[in-house]
């Protein structure tokens, strides 16, 4: 019974607001745009940060990635025709990093080789990574078929290759390809597995397995293909000697990631006279993404706060006008026997209906906009339950807050004066 009474009061409120459709609509606009912009921005922001966080998670938040890069000096020297660039991480670096830090749990070396390869009839250049079994623990990817590298493969220098999904697609390999021979350069490898691959970037760190076609044991790569690579670029040959292209470290706890990164950097500085490496810490990116999100939320919150405040004042203004306009009605209701709090209740419900309707329309707008953004720009947007409920709740609160004064004002009307009111 209480329920139906509330429903009836709401219905009466709606009826009263419908008497002045344009006015009610205009009054709502502040709330509509306030809630609309908050919902839309929240969902766009949530989408962007979710995308970033997903990517960072793919990198591993406990990982440190050290990559070989050509130092600035090398970059200018390599213009000389006969020059061979020597740079990057060495096997010795890898050994030192693996052995000197107690917080480093696991390490994986990465040696990248580009070689003309052949599977059956298909021939193309593959990007092959020489690594150890640990790689697959640091960059965990689902196995589609067969298996990944094992410690035994590495120990025994077995000529085995694991294809990535990406590489398999290029080679038109399927599950049935397992056991077949993949020719890399002039050497033959047995395909023993296919793993899933991820793509994309997080911040400016490339995902380790991006554009990798196959994995082989690192020692095999070293023995078969050596450390010197010749690359033909824009008509000239470029020769470079790089022992390792990347080293991936896993740190035992999140708290140790940043100190270890600093220690590794200090160590590398000691042994490299040029800065031919780059240390990337996904965790730092995560922190950065979180900080950005926090800043974004603060800006968002202020915008929302201001627009809802303006909206609320607009509502209060109109409700005060409405009270004056309906003084006589209030007088009649009071004379008939309505108590003060019933008058308060009536006007409060009307205000809350007004602000909540504004909130609902704003919500519709706020859902539609990200939807359109996703369709038009392909940008990911995420609608969270929280992102919907909170603005609605707030619009309701705005109704109560800014409706209270006009409602109390209405209840103070003296019935005798009100009944004389024209």
């Amino acid at each position: 019974m209480k329920q139906t009474r509330l429903m009836r009061n709401i219905y009466l409120g709606v009826e009263n607001l419908l008497l002045h459709k344009l006015r009610s609509f205009l009054t709502m606009l502040g709330i509509v745009f306030g809630v609309g912009s908050v919902v839309a921005m929240l969902s766009v922001g949530e989408g962007a940060s979710k995308e970033a966080l997903d990517q960072i998670r793919k990198l591993g938040s406990n990982n440190i990635i050290i990559s070989s890069v050509k130092s600035v000096e090398e970059e200018s020297a390599s213009n000389v025709r006969t020059h061979m660039s020597i740079y990057g991480l060495t096997y010795e670096d890898f050994r030192r990093i693996s052995e000197s830090f107690k917080d480093v749990q696991k390490t994986a070396p990465v040696k990248i080789i580009r070689k003309e390869s052949r599977l059956g009839e298909r021939m193309l250049e593959l990007r092959v990574v020489g690594t150890t079994a640990t790689w697959f623990e640091l960059v965990p990817r689902a196995v589609i078929a067969g298996r990944v590298l094992t410690a035994l493969d590495v120990e025994k220098n077995s000529p085995v290759a694991i294809l990535t999904e990406f590489g398999a697609r290029k080679l038109l390999a399927t599950e049935n390809t397992i056991g077949q021979t993949l020719q890399i350069g002039g050497d033959r490898f047995e395909i023993v597995g296919i793993v899933q691959s991820e793509s994309g970037e997080a911040g400016n760190i490339q995902i380790p397995d991006q554009q990798v076609d196959a994995y082989i044991p690192i020692e095999v790569a070293r023995k078969y293909f050596g450390d010197i690579f010749t690359r033909r670029s824009s008509g000239s040959f470029e020769r470079e000697k790089v022992e390792l292209h990347q080293v991936i470290l896993q740190i035992d706890s999140v708290d140790h990631v940043e100190p270890t990164a600093a220690a590794v950097e200090t160590m590398l500085e000691r042994f490299h006279d040029k800065k031919d490496y780059r240390i990337s810490v996904p965790l730092a990116l995560l922190r950065q993404a979180e900080a950005t999100k926090r800043r974004f939320n603060i800006v968002l919150g202020s915008i929302a706060g201001i627009s809802l405040l303006v909206g609320g004042i607009g509502i209060m203004n109109i409700m005060l006008a409405s009270v004056t306009e309906r003084t006589r009605e209030i007088g009649i209701r009071r004379a008939i026997g309505a108590k003060r709090r019933q008058i308060i209740y009536q006007f409060l419900i009307e205000t809350v209906v007004l602000s909540t309707t504004g909130g609902l329309i704003g919500l519709g707008l706020g859902v539609l906009i990200p939807f359109l953004i996703t369709i038009i720009s392909g940008m990911a947007t995420v609608l969270t339950l929280w992102g919907i409920l909170l603005p609605l709740l707030i619009s309701m609160m705005v109704g109560i807050l800014f409706g209270l004064y006009p409602a109390i004002h209405a209840a103070k009307v003296d019935p005798i004066v009100a009944l004389r009111h024209e």
Partner: protein, 241 residues
């Protein structure tokens, strides 16, 4: 005569008693004594017309009797109980359960239909929708407006509006009906129809207190109370009771 004696007995019960009732408005340093010490008893089931020149205190008297306003000084006994000290909520409750009002300017709520206007007191009494709709229909029939329930007040004539107001005043089955110049905005013929309605209600046992300055209208009442300068000047017609 035994029957009537019982009836007379119940009618001789007092409904309202004012004792030295004063209502003083203070405007700056000037005092207006709208009621200047009135002592009077209204019996249950009586029909009163309050008369007097403009400014004599008729409306003030009605507002006090109707519990819309409070005395500055003196006592107000309603059904034997002193209510001059009651709070705002208690007075609202009293109006809601025991009183009905009819005004010169009808005072219907324009955005509500005739039915919703009649149902208004029932709404505050907490009635269920179906029950109050049924009662509104009965009342509308009683005042001859059964076919106008879904109309808005603005679509009705003055006489029809006043009949809606009467139906609304009757919705809570009040003991007393207050009518402040109920015919003031109506032509003579329509005014008389309204008076006949009031007389019928009086016949059904309701106490009616009406303000008017037309002697013709006042003659429909049993008792004529003449006021002047906030005081009772003369009471006509009480001898017969």
């Amino acid at each position: 005569m035994a029957d009537t004696s019982v009836q007379t007995d119940s009618r001789n019960h007092e409904m309202i008693r004012l004792v030295e009732a004063r209502k003083i408005y203070t405007m700056g340093r000037q005092e207006v004594r709208a009621l200047a010490g009135v002592t009077i008893t209204f019996l249950k089931g009586s029909f009163w017309a309050i008369m007097g020149p403009s400014g004599s205190g008729k409306s003030t008297m009605m507002n006090i009797l109707g519990c819309l306003d409070r005395l500055t000084d003196g006592q107000y006994y309603f059904d034997g109980r002193d209510i001059s000290t009651l709070g705002d909520d208690a007075l609202s409750e009293l109006r809601l359960r025991r009183l009905g009002f009819i005004f010169q300017s009808f005072n219907l709520i324009p955005q509500l239909t005739v039915q919703k206007n009649i149902e208004l007191p029932l709404y505050y009494l907490g009635w269920e929708d179906e029950d109050s709709a049924a009662r509104a229909r009965v009342l509308a029939e009683e005042v001859g407006l059964a076919d106008r329930l879904q109309h808005r007040p603005t679509e009705l004539s003055g006489g029809q509006m006043q009949r809606v107001a009467i139906a609304r005043a009757l919705a809570n089955d009040p003991q007393i009906i207050f009518a402040d110049e109920p015919t003031g905005n109506l032509d003579t013929k329509t005014g008389l129809q309204i008076l006949e309605l009031l007389q019928k209600l009086h016949g059904e046992g309701k106490t009616i207190i009406m303000v008017t300055h037309e002697p013709d209208i006042a003659s429909y009442a049993q008792i004529q109370l003449h006021m002047r300068d906030g005081l009772v000047e003369r009471i006509d017609g009480q001898e017969g009771l």
